[in-house]
Symmetry: C2
Subunit: 267 residues, 2 copies
């Protein structure tokens, strides 16, 4: 049986550097699809190019307009190939309207001095934390097994939180071996930080999201379908836009990805 | 007299959405220009478009290949205009080779609930910290008055640092009223974190840089030519790429910009 994630990011190759895909009902958000699945599709569109070199290093996705339910076309353009890295521009359109743009850097990694600077927060293991209950609110959440250590979605009667931090164990539901595309999607699983601060949902949506990948394909193969520890916090909410900065760790404490986004809100 | 920064980011408008500019010797780096001045040029190229709405919210700059000394052409494309924001793609070329790409989001800000989450590090004021001496190493550094509180460029005989943090007061030299373009440039004033960790320079260069702006034009006017407190740290160095994440504060403690980059290195 095909995992819903694989169905949602499936692309049919058209002419050179063009492909078609379609939104998947399992990943529907309030308006249009879950941003994480769109990020995954934009990355996958580059991954499948025959002239692509290396593995993902950096991905910036700009959500220009809501994607309507149904089909879309993706145009990938290789802007530059260097000896050890490659730059891409990706555009997702529906009826010739640009709905999402992305830039991606792929690179060939080499053995050299390496070191972690970020430290994983001290938390109980995923099996010691209760899974969050489905919200019934948006469809895509059902595709993730989320276990909040701190900062779960505020319920009715919750108090505003002075902190903007959420930390959770998360993996695909049903479990699926992690790959670059699903890691890119998981970087967007956090609900908007403004909900936590105000203890209520308000209109909010990611405008631009940038992810830096710190793992190789071999690291991902070793990780398998295990949980990822995902933590995020906001830095400033100001006049309709806030940023949030996130880190995703393997259970062994290795930083797998750093991800940042700027979010529109109306409080 | 024209400030060198203004000369360096000057553009001559050509046809619709095209402009020409040139590298400026005062902002030369080891190879090509200082990345910050290129980021400033990419932002300025959008700012001057007659159909641009709002002020900068987000800017991602991808350094695809070294810019040669001399002229360049910049193509800006408005991908999407929404009610309160606008998405742009920018490409800088020399002889039809793409040397830099960028995506930018501009937005109209509204009064709504706002709050700072990030706190400025407790540091002495800029006039209590000695200015860094010119390196003689790269030209562009002379255009900045940098006063390191921690993490100055390691000199000969320095010990490797377990920390990747640098914090400094910085402003243009000679002083110049801060605007979005110069703020975008200052987000790149940090030398590569790997130099600090290893206590020696190694080949390194920014590949992609994303900045989120938290200020309005009015905030910048109030700031004038005062210092900015800039702080940065790395999260993970792994097999040839590391990321660094930065925050720029006004002297009154307001977060003016959050900035992130992924850097190539060879240790």
């Amino acid at each position: 049986m095909t995992h819903p994630f694989d169905s949602a990011v499936a692309l049919e190759q058209g002419g050179e550097h063009t492909a078609t895909g379609a939104t998947h009902p399992a990943y529907a958000n309030m308006v249009g699809p879950f941003g994480g699945i769109t990020a995954a599709v934009m990355l996958r569109a580059v991954e499948v190019q025959p002239d692509r070199i290396g593995e993902p290093v950096s991905l910036t996705v700009n959500f220009t307009a809501p994607i309507a339910d149904g089909g879309y076309e993706i145009l990938t353009r290789c802007v530059r190939t260097n000896r050890t890295n490659q730059h891409w521009i990706v555009e997702l359109t529906q009826d010739d309207e640009v709905k999402t743009t992305a830039t991606a850097v792929f690179g060939i990694r080499r053995d050299t001095w390496s070191d972690a600077q970020a430290e994983m927060p001290a938390v109980p293991g995923p099996h010691s934390v209760a899974p969050a209950e489905g919200s019934g609110f948006v469809k895509w959440i059902d595709n993730y097994d989320m276990r909040f250590v701190v900062g779960s979605l505020p319920g009715i009667g919750a108090e505003p939180s002075p902190s903007s931090v959420s930390t959770l164990w998360v993996r695909d539901r049903p479990p699926r071996p992690l790959d670059f595309a699903s890691l890119a999607a998981i970087c967007d699983v956090f609900y908007p930080r403004v909900f936590l601060r105000l203890a209520r949902p308000v209109p909010a949506g990611t405008i631009s999201m940038t992810t830096y990948f710190h793992v190789t394909g071999d690291d991902l193969a070793a990780h398998g379908d295990d949980y990822v520890l995902a933590t995020t916090e906001a830095r400033r909410f100001t006049r309709g836009y806030f940023d949030q900065t996130s880190q995703l760790f393997s259970p062994t404490g290795a930083l797998m990805a750093s991800s940042h986004q700027i979010v529109y809100y109306k409080a």
